[in-house]
Chain length 323, copies 4
C-alpha cells in the first residue's frame, strides 16, 4: 500500500477505488492527445483489449481512433469522469498545464484514486506541480515520457521512463508495456522527465561532436568510413558514431543516407534541449556543452533545418559547395 504522498486520499476512503483500479483489467483507459505519437499509442492499447475514452483539441485527430472503436468525449474533464486511468501525450508544458488544471481539465472531474500518466516531454518542475495538484484532487500522477519516435510508437517498441510513487509503478507498467518494449522506473515524480532530457542532452552533444569530428577528419584527408571505424573501436565511440552516423554514405538505413528525412526532427531536439536548459538553470547546474548544443540547434531552426533529422548538423557545419 502506498505511503507518504498517497496517505491523504487513502485516509479519505479511497482504498476501494485504488484496489479496483489496480486489480481490474480491461476497464476503460482515458487518452488525451491524439497526435503523431498519441494516435498509434492509443491504438496499441485498443489492440490489447482496453476500451479507450479519448479527447483531442483537434476533432479531426480523433477520427482514426474513433473508427478503431474508441469513444470520443468533449473535454479532458469528461475523459477523467469516465476512466480512472488516463494517459496524456501532449506537445509542450503549457498544453499539459491546460489539460490537467484548465477550466475543462482532467482535475476538474477526476475520480478519487485515479492514476494519471503523462507521457509528454515537459519540464520536470511542471510534472512536480501537476503531481501536487493531482494529489490535492485525490489522484496519483506519474510522468512517463518516451523515447523512440513515431516508428516505435506504431510498433509498440517505445521506451518509457517513469517517475512517481514506486507503489504505483506496477499499475502504470501494465498499461505502458502495451505501448513500449522498455518501461524503466526512474524514481520520484519528475525523474522520468529528468532521465529523458538528460539522455537527449547527451545525445545532442554526441551528435554534434560526431558531426564536427567527421567533418574535421574528412578535411584532414581521412576516408569517412575508415574514420567511423577507427572511432567506433576507440574511446571516441558513441551512439551517433556507431548507430546513427551523420555522414551520408557511412551507414545505410539512417536519415543521413536519406537526405536527412525522417528520424528525430531538429525542432524537436531544440525543444528538448530548451527543457534541459530550463532544468539546468532552475537547479543552477553548469552545462556548457549542453547549452551550446541548444544554441546550435536553435540557429539551425532559424536557418531552415527545422524539419530535417537532427543529424543534419553535419550538413549545417560542412562548407557549402557552391558558394
Amino acid at each position: 500500500m502506498s505511503r507518504g504522498v498517497l496517505s491523504s486520499y487513502c485516509k479519505q476512503g479511497s482504498f476501494a477505488m485504488v484496489c479496483s483500479r489496480t486489480m481490474a483489467s480491461k476497464t476503460a483507459v482515458g487518452f488525451v492527445g491524439l497526435g503523431n505519437m498519441g494516435n498509434p499509442m492509443a491504438k496499441n492499447l485498443l489492440k490489447h483489449g482496453y476500451p479507450i475514452v479519448a479527447f483531442d483539441v483537434f476533432p479531426e485527430a480523433c477520427k482514426e481512433i474513433l473508427d478503431s472503436g474508441a469513444q470520443i468525449t468533449d473535454s479532458p474533464a469528461d475523459v477523467a469522469e469516465r476512466a480512472d486511468r488516463v494517459i496524456t501525450m501532449l506537445p509542450s508544458s503549457p498544453n499539459a498545464i491546460e489539460v490537467y488544471t484548465g477550466a475543462n481539465g482532467i482535475l476538474k472531474k477526476v475520480k478519487k484514486g485515479s492514476l494519471l500518466i503523462d507521457s509528454s516531454t515537459i519540464d520536470p518542475a511542471i510534472s512536480k506541480e501537476l503531481a501536487r495538484a493531482s494529489e490535492k484532487a485525490g489522484a496519483v500522477f506519474m510522468d512517463a515520457p518516451v523515447s523512440g519516435g513515431v516508428g516505435a510508437a506504431r510498433s509498440g517498441n517505445l521506451t518509457f521512463m517513469v517517475g512517481g510513487v514506486e507503489q504505483e509503478f506496477d499499475a502504470a507498467k501494465e498499461l505502458l508495456s502495451c505501448m513500449g518494449a522498455n518501461v524503466v522506473y526512474c524514481g520520484e515524480v519528475g525523474t522520468g522527465q529528468a532521465a529523458k532530457i538528460c539522455n537527449n542532452m547527451l545525445l545532442a552533444i554526441g551528435m554534434i561532436g560526431t558531426a564536427e569530428t567527421m567533418n574535421l577528419g574528412i578535411r584532414l584527408g581521412l576516408d569517412p568510413k575508415l574514420l567511423a571505424k577507427i572511432l567506433n573501436m576507440s574511446s571516441g565511440r558513441c551512439w551517433s558514431s556507431d548507430t546513427y552516423n551523420p555522414v551520408p554514405g557511412v551507414m545505410e538505413g539512417v536519415p543521413s543516407s536519406n537526405n536527412y528525412q525522417g528520424g528525430f526532427g531538429t525542432t524537436l531536439m531544440a525543444k528538448d534541449l530548451g527543457l534541459a536548459q530550463d532544468s539546468a538553470t532552475n537547479t543552477k547546474t553548469p552545462t556548457p556543452l549542453g547549452s551550446l548544443a541548444h544554441q546550435i540547434y536553435r540557429i539551425m531552426c532559424a536557418k531552415g533545418y527545422s524539419q530535417k533529422d537532427f543529424s543534419a548538423v553535419f550538413q549545417f557545419l560542412r562548407e557549402e559547395e557552391n558558394l
Copy 2:
C-alpha cells in the same frame, strides 16, 4: 615497390637499401625519446629481439634502456647513422622539428631509404612537413601516433594509427606490432595524427557531455547508477558513460573511483585539443563543441586540475560542497 613520393629516391639508386631494410629482420632499430611512453615501447622492441640504438636529451632517461642492453648515442643524427629504421616518441611539435631537422637531427645523417616512424602526437601539418624534408633526404617518414597510455605501452597493447605511403605500411607494422595490439593504416602522411586528434576531440566532447549530464540528472533527483544504466541502453550512450564513467561510485576500476588518479591527464587532453583546434583552424573547419571542450580543459589546467585524469571535469562542474 613504392611509387609516387618514393620514386625519386629509388631512381637515385637506393633500391638495394630499401630491400635490405624491409627484408632483413632484427637489424638495429633506432629510438629517440625515452620518456614515460618511449621507454617501455623501446623495451618491447628489445624483447622481440631488435637491437636498439637510442637517444634522449636527458641522459638519465637512457639509463634504464641502457641496462636492458640498448646502445646509447650522442644525438638523433648518430641514431640515424647507425640504424635505417628509427622510431621517435616526443612530447610536442617543436621537439619533433628539432629531432628531425635540427643541427644534430636525424635528417643530418639519415641513410638513403631509411624508414622514419614518428609516434609523437603532433600537428598533422608538421607531420607533412617532416615527410617532405625526409623525402628530400631520401628517407620515408610515417606518422604513427598511439592511443592507450603508459599501461598499454608497458603491456604492448597500444593502438597505432599510421599515416604514410601504403607500400611501406608492412615494414612499419613489423615493428609497431611488437609494441601494440592494433596497427591501423589511415591513409597518406598526417592521417595517423588526424585520426588520433579526431578521436580525442570526440572523446573530450563525450566526457564533458557525460559529466554535465550526470551532474544535471543527479541534481534533478536521479540515482547516478540508474541514470548511467538508462543512458547506456539509450541513444545517449558513449564510451565515457559506459566504460569510463566520470561519477565516483558508478563504476569500479576507473579513475573517478580513485580520486581521479592515473588515467589520461587533463593537461595531455588540453594539448591534444589544442592540436585539434590548430588543425581545424588550418582547414577552416567549424568545431564549436570541440573548441569549447578545449577551453574547458584549458580552464581546468589553470585551476589546478592538470595532473588529474580528464574525467575530473565532473568534479570541476559540480558545486563545491563547503562554500
Copy 3:
C-alpha cells in the same frame, strides 16, 4: 486617457479613482520588499514627502523604515488596501508571483484603478502574466526594473526601465524619479524587464570578453594599462574595458582594484543571465555567447566566486600562481 487594456475598468466607473491617483500628490505609497535595494528606495520616497505603507516577509527588515516614519502592515494585501500606488522590489519571479497573486497578495485587496509598479528583475513573461491578473482585478501593472545597485539606490541615482501602458508612464515617473536619475519608457508591459536583461546579457559578454582579452594580451607581453588604453581608443572598446576594467591595477575605484569586493555579485549576474536564457528559449532566439556567458558565471558560482563582483571572471580565467 488610457485606451485598450485600461478601457474596461474606465467603463466601470473608475475614472474618478484614476484622476485622484494621478492628480493628488503625497498620498500614501505602498512598498513591498524592504531588502538591500527596497529599503533605501522606500526611504527616498519618504524624503520626498510620500507617506509609506510597507511590508516585508522578514519583520526585522521593516525596522529601519518604521523608525523613519513608515507604517508597517501585515501582508501585501493590506498594503494594497491602504495605498493605491504600490511599488514592489523582490528577489525573484516566485516571490513576485506570491506577493501579487498569493493568498494574502496585493491583488486580493487591490483598489480599482491602482497603479502597481514592480521593480524586481524577473522573467518578462511573468511580468505579462502579473499585468493580466492585475487588469482582471481592475489595476494597472507596470514593470520597472532598475540598474545601478545599492549605492545608486541610496543616492537616488538608479535607472528605471519601464514597461506598461504609455498613458500611465507619467504617473509612474512621478514616483520613480524620487528614487532614480533616469526613468526610461521602453514600451508595453515586459519591455522594462526585456531592456534590463538585454543590457545585462551584453554587459556579461563584454566583461568576460574583456577579461579574456586582457589575460591574453598580458600573456603575449603587453602591459595591461597600455592594452586597456589601446582597446579604449579602438573598436574593442566597451564599458567593461573603459569604465570597469577587470584587471587589478588598471583603474582605481573599481572592484578589481579592491579584491573584487562590492559591485555587482557573480550570483546576481548568473541569475540575470538565467532570465535572459529563459526569455531566449521562450522566444526561440539564438544567443550563443549569452548562453556561454551564463554557463561561465554558473561555473564560477559553483567554484566559490558567488559573492565576488562579476569582474572576478578575470581572476577565474587567469592561471593560478601557486599550483
Copy 4:
C-alpha cells in the same frame, strides 16, 4: 643609441648606416605587397616625397604604383638591396615567412642596419621568429599591423600598433605617420600583433554579443532604436552598439544599413580570430568567448557570409523570414 639586440651590428661597424637611415629623409623606401591595403599605403609614402622601390608577386598589382612613379623590382631580395627601409604588407603568416626568409627573400640581400617593418597581421610568434632571423642578418625587424581597413589606408588614417626595439620607434614612426593617424608603441617585437589580435577578438565578441542582444530585445517587443539607445547609456555599451550597430535601420552610414556591403569582411575576421586562437593555445590562455566567436565566424564563412561585413552576424542569427 640602441642597446641590446642592436648592439651586435653596431659593433660590426654599421653605425654610419644607422645614422644615414635615421637622419636622411626621403631616401628610397622599399614596399613589398601591393594589394588592396599595400597599394594606397605605398601611394601615401610617394605623396610624402619618399621614392618607392616595390615588389608584388602579381605583376599586375604593381601597375598602378609604377604609374605613380615607383620603381618595380624582381623580388623582395632586390627591394632590400636598393632600400634600407622596407615595409611589407602581406595576407598571411606563410607569405610573410616566404617574403623574409625565402630563396629570394628580403634577408638574402638586406643591408646591415636596415629597418624592416611588417604591417601584415600574422601570428606574433612568427613576428618574433622573423625578428630573430632579421637580427642574424644585421637588420632590425618591427611588427606594425594596422586597423582601419581600405578606406583608412587611402585617406592615411590607419592606426599602427608597433612592436620592436623602442629606440627604433621614432624611425618607424617617421614612415608610418605618412600612412596613419595613430602610431602606437606597444612594446617588444610581437606586441603590435598582440594588440591587434586582442582588439579584434574583443571586437568580434562585442559584435556577436550586440547582435544577439538586439535580436533578443526585438523578439521581446523592444524597438531596436530605443534598445540601442538604452544600451548605449548603460553598462552594455560597446563600439558595436554605439558606433557600428549591426541592426539595419538603427544607424546610418554603417554596413548594416547597406546590406552588409563594405566594411570588414567576415572572412578577414575569421582569419584574425584564428590567429587569436593560435596565440591563446600557444600561451595556454583560456578564451571561451573568443573561441566561440571564432567558431561562429567560421560557420558563417561556410554558410555563404564570407564577403559580407562582420556585422552580418545579426542576419545570421535572425530567423529567416521565408521558411
